[in-house]
Symmetry: C2
Subunit: 337 residues, 2 copies
C-alpha cells in the first residue's frame, strides 16, 4: 500500500506538503495541490490512521463495552454510540463483557491497549472500587446506566426503582391488588432496583405481598416463560403481572397464550421495554419505557466533552415514561372496599 512518501516522490514535493494538503492546513499553490492530488489518485493512496495516531498521539478511537451483541437491547446502544461518534469522526471499538468482571476488565484492557481516547462502559460486574481506581487514570470514561458514588460526573443514569414503581402504581390505580412480578436477576443492581420499585408501590398502597408473587428470571425469554409458569401455578388468583423486561414478557405471553389465560381479560400485564417490542406483541403490551437510546447518545456526548476537556451542560439523569396500550384492564370496584 502506497505511503505518503510514495505520493510525495511521484508528485515531486516533500511529504510534509502532502500531509498538509491532506489535512487542509495552510495554503498551497494550485499547481502543487493538483500534482499531489493526481499522485494520490494514481497510487490509490489511503492515509494510515495508525501512523497518524502515533504521530499525533491521539488514536481517534472510542471504546464501548456491552454485555453481549445479541438481543436487540445492546444493538440500540451501539447504534446510537456509533452515530454520535460518526459526528465526531471517531472510530468505534466494541467489546463484550460477557457476564463477568474479568470479561469487563479484559474489554477495558483492550481499550487501553488501542489507546482509545475514552470509552463508554455499560458495566454490570466491575465493582465500584475498581471503577474508582480506573477513574484515577487519565483516560476518560463514562458509565452508562450505572450510579457510582463519587463518580457522579461520569454517570448517565436512569431511575429503575421509580420506573417500576410507576408501572405498578398504575396497575394499582386501575384497581389491581394482587400483582405479581417477574424480576431480573436480583444480584444485578438495576434489576434489584426494579424489584424494589415493585415492592415499594405495593407497600404504599397497603398491599401485603403474598408468597409466590415474585419470581426471579434472568432477562431471557425462557426465564420469562418459566417465571410466568411458576407464578401462575402458585397464585392463579393474581389479576396483574409486572414484567421487568420485554424479552421475559415475550416468554410470559407465550405461556399465557398456551394456557388460555386471556390478556387483559383474565390477567393484566405491564412490562419494561427499551427496544419497542411490547407494541408489536398481541395484545400490545403497556410499558414503562427505558430510554436507552437517548441515554447512549448522552453518554457519548459526555465522553466527548471529557475527551476535549470542555465540560458541557447536559442531562445525565433520565426519567421513565409510561406508554399505555391494551394489556391492562381496569378492575371494577368491589363493593365494601
Amino acid at each position: 500500500m502506497a505511503s505518503i512518501q510514495d505520493v510525495a516522490s511521484l508528485a515531486g514535493v516533500h511529504r510534509s506538503t502532502v500531509s498538509r494538503i491532506i489535512n487542509g492546513e495552510g495554503k498551497f499553490r494550485a499547481d502543487t495541490k493538483r500534482k499531489v492530488e493526481m499522485a494520490m489518485a494514481e497510487l490509490n493512496y489511503r492515509p494510515s490512521a495508525i501512523a497518524r495516531s502515533l504521530a499525533t498521539a491521539s488514536s481517534n478511537m472510542a471504546g464501548l463495552l456491552v454485555t453481549y451483541y445479541t438481543g436487540g437491547f445492546f444493538g440500540e446502544m451501539m447504534e446510537q454510540v456509533q452515530a454520535e461518534l460518526d459526528n465526531h469522526n471517531k472510530f468505534l471499538i466494541t467489546a463484550q463483557g460477557h457476564l463477568s468482571a474479568e470479561g469487563e476488565r479484559e474489554a477495558i484492557r483492550r481499550f487501553h491497549h488501542l489507546r482509545c481516547e475514552g470509552y463508554v462502559l455499560n458495566s454490570r460486574y466491575l465493582p465500584d472500587d475498581e471503577l474508582h481506581l480506573l477513574a484515577q487514570e487519565p483516560t476518560p470514561f463514562v458509565l452508562l446506566d450505572r450510579q457510582v458514588a463519587g463518580l457522579e460526573s461520569r454517570c448517565i443514569t436512569f431511575n429503575h426503582r421509580l420506573a417500576a414503581k410507576q408501572a405498578v402504581s398504575y396497575l394499582i390505580a386501575q384497581g389491581h391488588r394482587k400483582i405479581a412480578c417477574i424480576s431480573g436477576s436480583l444480584s444485578r443492581a438495576s434489576s434489584f432496583q426494579r424489584y424494589q420499585g415493585y415492592v415499594e408501590a405495593l407497600q404504599e398502597a397497603g398491599i401485603t405481598q403474598a408468597d409466590g408473587w415474585a419470581e426471579e428470571g434472568n432477562y431471557s425469554r425462557e426465564s420469562g416463560y418459566r417465571a410466568a409458569q411458576s407464578i401462575y401455578q402458585a397464585c392463579p388468583d393474581i389479576t396483574a403481572l409486572f414484567s421487568c423486561s420485554e424479552e421475559m414478557t415475550l416468554g410470559a405471553l407465550l405461556f399465557f397464550h398456551q394456557h388460555n389465560v386471556a390478556i387483559p381479560q383474565q390477567l393484566s400485564l405491564i412490562s419494561f421495554d427499551s427496544v419497542g417490542l411490547c407494541a408489536s406483541l398481541y395484545p400490545p403490551v403497556s410499558e414503562v419505557h427505558f430510554p436507552i437510546r437517548d441515554m447512549a447518545q448522552a453518554a457519548v456526548q459526555l465522553l466527548v466533552s471529557q475527551i476535549h476537556g470542555q465540560p458541557v451542560e447536559m442531562r445525565c439523569h433520565f426519567q421513565p415514561e409510561l406508554r399505555l396500550r391494551d394489556s391492562v384492564r381496569p378492575l371494577p370496584a368491589v363493593d365494601g372496599l
Copy 2:
C-alpha cells in the same frame, strides 16, 4: 502513559530487551526478566497496539460491515465474528452500511484507513463490479451471504431460493393451494431469490399465482403488518401465508390477532427466521432456518485463512432447515381433486 522506554530506563535495560520479554522472544536471565516485570508493574505499563502495528506493519484488526446494529439479526453476526476473532486475538472494527452503496463504501474506506488485515462484508448495495475491483487490492475480504460470479472463493452463501421453495412446498404438501407471500424488497438479491423460491414452488405444483397474493415489504415489523393487511383484504380466501422474515412475521401476526384470524385454524403461517423469534411467538411459528450464525463463523475462518495465506478446507455453502411448529394446519383433502 508510560512507554517502553520508561520501562527500560527504570529497569536499567535497553528497550529492545523489554520488547523481547513482552513478546516472549528468546531467553533472558531470570534477573533481567524480574526487573523488567517489576518496572512494568510499577509504571502500570500497557504496550501501545498502535505503535506495535506501525512497527510490524500489521494492525491485528479485522473489519465487519453490517447494514445496521439494531434488530437482532446483525447482533447474531457480530457475536459470532467477535467470538471467532477473539480466538485469533484480533480486534474487531464494525461499521454500518446503512442502506446505500455509499454507506458501504465509506465503511470499507474506514477499514482500509485503519489498515485492517481483512474484512467481512455483509454487503447489499455495492455492485458486483466494484467488488471485483476491490478484489484486485491486496487486503483480503470475504462476502457474507452474497454470491458474486468470479469471486466464489470469497463467498459464504445460502440458497435463499431453495429455502423459500422448501417452505412453500411444505405448505403445498399439507394441502394448501392458495398461498400468499410477504417478501422483502425485491430489489435486494436475497429477497428476490426468496420470492423466486415461492413462485417456483407454486409453479411446480401447477398452482397459478393469483393477484394480490404477493406483497412486498422491507423486513420491518410495520411492513409486515401492512402487507398482511393488504393481502388479507384483497384475498380473504387464502389458506396459507409465507413470510420472508421473522420481523415481518411479528407484524403480520399482530394484524391477524387484531382481526381475529386464527392461526393456524383459519390461516397457516410459515416464516423465514435466523434469530429464533418464531419459536417464541404465539402460536409458535414454523420456520425455514437461515443459519446466519454458522455462516458468520465460517466467514471469519475463511477470512483468517486468507490473511494467513493458508487456504483451508471449509464449507462455504449453507443449507436451509425446516423447523416445524404449530402454525401450519394440514388441509383436509377435498373430494374430487
